[in-house]
């Protein structure tokens, strides 16, 4: 691919090198975002893969991202995660994802059954609480603490300024605290 072509230009031309480059660069971030929200490797893999497929289809149909590719990817990931939870909640009688125990939770001492139980319970509570936040609050929590983005990176992805993100993360944490205060703290 010519060096003059940007990633997005290459993507629009369905250039394999551009597609590979974009995928390699952003897949880890998309996967982490999805994993943080669903806490399940297989589901996170499905979601991450779907995000890039949607990107390809969107670009092919002429309505993909124009400038903020990372923001588009994160936003799409968030939408797919929400769809996923919506469908899960609409299936009565099945285990909800936050009920599934994971070995990647807040386990401080894996051999201590009490610590393990506490960790699973804390994670379940936090995850459940995150799902009750507003969409922007979910995103800021996931980006800041799931993906480890800085304030500025989060602001860029969400299309806001840093001060707005500071306020948003404060309110998101405060909302989380209120949601799980009685059970966790």
């Amino acid at each position: 691919m010519s060096a003059a072509l940007s990633e997005l230009d290459g993507l629009r031309l369905l250039d394999p090198q551009a597609i590979t480059s974009i995928h390699n660069r952003y897949y880890p971030e998309v996967y982490r975002f999805a994993y943080y929200r669903v806490n399940d490797e297989v589901t996170a893999e499905d979601i991450a893969s779907d995000v890039f497929m949607r990107l390809l289809e969107a670009v092919h149909e002429g309505h993909g991202p124009n400038t903020n590719l990372r923001g588009w990817l994160i936003s799409t990931t968030s939408n797919i995660v929400n769809d996923y939870f919506r469908k899960i909640y609409n299936r009565p009688g099945e285990d909800h994802p936050e009920m599934i125990e994971s070995d990647n939770l807040l386990v401080e001492d894996p051999v201590d059954p009490i610590a393990l139980t506490d960790a699973v319970e804390r994670s379940r509570l936090i995850q459940s609480a995150i799902n009750e936040l507003t969409e922007e609050q979910k995103q800021v929590i996931t980006l800041r603490f799931g993906n480890g983005y800085s304030l500025d990176e989060t602001a860029t992805v969400m299309g806001k300024n840093a001060n707005a993100i500071k306020a948003l993360q404060f309110r998101a944490l405060a909302a989380l605290r209120n949601l799980i205060r009685k059970d966790l703290l």
């Binding site: 390699n24 289809e57 605290r177």
Partner: protein, 474 residues
């Protein structure tokens, strides 16, 4: 106050990221500590739920899926230029996208499985017979693409590719027979060049004043016989293809090696990519003069073979050697051509050449080859020896391994030798030398003799000097 709280929280979060204990962070803002503490604890809890590792195999699977889809979309793009009404083809994909994640995955896998079944001769027989311009033709091409990409790399994938190239030629021939005007693209060997009338892969091609030539190293339109090209153009009712673009795909390049790396060679200023199946003479060093069999792709030049100049031909390799130039038979046959009969097992059947017991024999448009011959069959091939020493097949037919032991071509050879006719080639090696050897058995017959049996009554040539003695390559 709120702004101060937001700022204090952010500073404390940054401090926590660097490993500063919670209580130490709160000492920075003692008046807000009661409000900040629970938020920082929550933040710590949420941060602990993340994952540091991204599964590499998941990433690989995702990327593969993405690139396959991109390839499909590219194909659709090309086809939609001709058939805008075929957008229904993408509907299944769009439907999958709108499905739930797990359902979409299942349906995608099912589609692949179904397509695999269909490629092996199932329900898409109709589409398999479709031609460019037909409604089902994109389905046929999509099935081919999936089959190709799912095939194991190496010879099997090459076989797929060769079959598809041949398929395109057959389609163009069918369109011409049906007198249909249709945009087509096909790849083939340049078999004949007569001013603006070319024959490529057996298809007559009319070169127009506005025909574009792409891929020539020196930027000129210097096309030669034997080069492999891709023709884009429009079939005409009169029985040919009006060429819009000619892409040079395979040709020979002679130059000096300037640098060698694992996957790239610099030869006389041109960079060639090599792959695991590139045939490379051992011991080639920088400064050596070499001949390169080049494959020109959209993403660069690939060396199919790099051999020293003077490399002996033929070699017992499935990769074609450099020197042969196949020609159109019968029309331009000169008296200087001699005919041989090669017998042996078919080791490889490529589009434009076969390997018969290690001997490369070129196949041209009017070579007579029965469809029933397969790899491994024992065959006899009547070939013409070209001026450069390569063999071009006139007719190939099945033979019994015992044929060469009895009264067949060997007998004719014996008589020819006894007659000391200069037109006849001394068979080398003799069939009696080593019956189990991989080297094909080569037997001489006169050129103007249509059948082996006719050699029994062959008359002495009137002027033997017109037909020089040929020495078959060992």
């Amino acid at each position: 106050m709120n702004d101060q709280l937001f700022e204090a929280l952010d500073i404390c979060l940054k401090a926590r990221e660097t490993g500063i204990p919670l209580d130490d962070c709160l000492k920075l803002y003692p008046e807000m500590a009661s409000e900040l503490r629970p938020l920082l604890e929550i933040a710590q809890g949420t941060a602990s739920m993340t994952t540091k590792q991204v599964p590499v195999d998941a990433m690989y699977r995702s990327r593969t899926r993405l690139l396959v889809r991109a390839m499909q979309l590219r194909t659709l793009n090309e086809q939609s230029k001709q058939h805008s009404f075929l957008s229904w083809l993408t509907l299944p994909i769009r439907s999958i996208r709108r499905m739930s994640i797990s359902a979409g995955r299942l349906v995608f896998a099912a589609m692949i499985a179904i397509l695999l079944v269909l490629t092996s001769g199932g329900l898409l027989v109709t589409s398999a017979k479709s031609l460019p311009g037909d409604t089902l033709y994109p389905v046929k091409r999509a099935v081919e693409d999936i089959g190709y990409h799912l095939a194991p790399r190496g010879e099997i994938q090459q076989t797929f590719e060769h079959n598809y190239i041949q398929q395109r030629i057959t389609e163009v021939q069918s369109l011409i027979n049906l007198k249909r005007v249709q945009q087509v693209s096909f790849e083939g060997i340049v078999e004949s060049i007569d001013r603006n009338q070319w024959i490529v892969g057996g298809i007559p091609v009319d070169i127009k004043s506005n025909t574009t030539f792409v891929g020539s190293l020196d930027g000129t339109q210097s096309m030669e016989l034997g080069m492999q090209v891709e023709v884009e153009g429009v079939t005409q009712r009169e029985g040919w293809v009006d060429a819009q673009e000619i892409h040079l795909r395979e040709y020979h390049f002679i130059g000096m090696v300037e640098s060698i790396s694992a996957s790239k060679w610099q030869i006389s200023g041109i960079e060639f990519q090599t792959e695991t199946n590139t045939q490379i003479d051992t011991g080639i060093l920088a400064g050596d003069d070499v001949t390169v069999l080049v494959r020109s792709e959209d993403n660069g030049l690939f060396a199919l073979a790099i051999v020293r100049i003077g490399h002996p031909v033929p070699t017992p390799s499935i990769i074609p050697t450099i020197t042969p130039t196949p020609t159109q038979l019968f029309e331009n046959q000169s008296e200087n051509n001699a005919e041989l009969v090669i017998t042996g097992s078919v080791e490889l059947m490529a589009v434009n050449y076969w390997v018969i017991s290690g001997q490369i024999t070129y196949i041209v448009a009017n070579t007579e080859v029965p469809d029933s011959i397969q790899i491994g069959d024992y065959v006899s091939a009547h070939v013409v020896v070209e001026s450069n020493g390569s063999y071009t097949a006139i007719i190939i037919e099945k033979a019994e391994p015992s044929d060469h032991d009895g009264e067949g071509y060997d007998q004719a050879t014996q008589e020819n030798n006894e007659g000391e006719d200069d037109r006849y080639v001394t068979p080398t090696p003799s069939p009696d030398d080593d019956a189990g050897n991989e080297v094909p058995e080569i037997t001489a017959t006169p050129f103007d003799n249509e059948t082996p049996e006719g050699t029994d009554n062959h008359e002495e040539p009137e002027d033997p000097t017109e037909t020089p003695t040929l020495t078959p390559t060992p």
